[in-house]
Symmetry: C2
Subunit: 130 residues, 2 copies
């Protein structure tokens, strides 16, 4: 039985952890609405901010002006479809050796991590192009 002010923070995390689609705040909001019809966008945004500060959620990029989130916080490469905006995890790449230290060697920077993002077309969009 849902009350108006039920705790929804953990639901935001659970919804994000349950998908591989790297949803935006709004997509997450729509998904959560199905279970919590009274949830507000403000709550989704507030909890995403909190989860990000805690380090239990990351933003993997901005697609069409919308931040895309991931509950898998271990650094891993992504793919973004330039046409439909789908965000996928990229599998099967060898771990590059300490790229971060190499970058620091020749530049005035202090690297904590790096992001590797591939761009192109997903299978579905590539099929449409033909």
């Amino acid at each position: 039985m849902e009350t108006k002010y039920a705790r929804k923070g953990s639901a935001v995390y659970a919804a994000l952890a349950a998908t591989k689609l790297h949803p935006s705040a709004d997509t997450l909001y729509r998904d959560l609405q199905k279970v919590y019809p009274s949830i507000s966008r403000t709550t989704v945004y507030a909890n995403l901010t909190k989860l990000r500060e805690e380090g239990s959620v990351i933003c993997v990029g901005v697609v069409d002006g919308r931040e895309r989130f991931d509950a898998n916080t271990s650094p891993h490469p992504h793919f973004i479809c330039d046409q439909c905006g789908t965000v996928l995890d990229v599998e099967g790449l060898p771990k590059p050796p300490s790229l971060d230290r190499q970058a620091e060697e020749h530049n005035p920077i202090h690297v904590s991590y790096h992001e590797l993002v591939f761009r192109g077309l997903c299978d579905a969009c590539a099929a449409c192009e033909k």
Copy 2:
């Protein structure tokens, strides 16, 4: 002598090509105002859009909600300071061998290029942290 309707499109490109700061549209607008006091944000945005469609300009990422642009369109790694938002070119990295083809091998994707972005603190911000 500046007229109200002087051609400003090429000035947008020139301003972007003249800096390594990977400015945002608004930064570019403020820079151009010094030379073209009557220039409008609309013109800067319109020309950035056109240049991007032409392929003579790229967006290297979104920092604090602002798109950052680069007239150097050849793919190269960048660094973004998590504190001040500075965007730097990263030098001295060895070219990884056909990462794009490797990614395609194990994933249902068609890669046209990839972006490598290092994150951390720039020298100035690292100094302040101490």
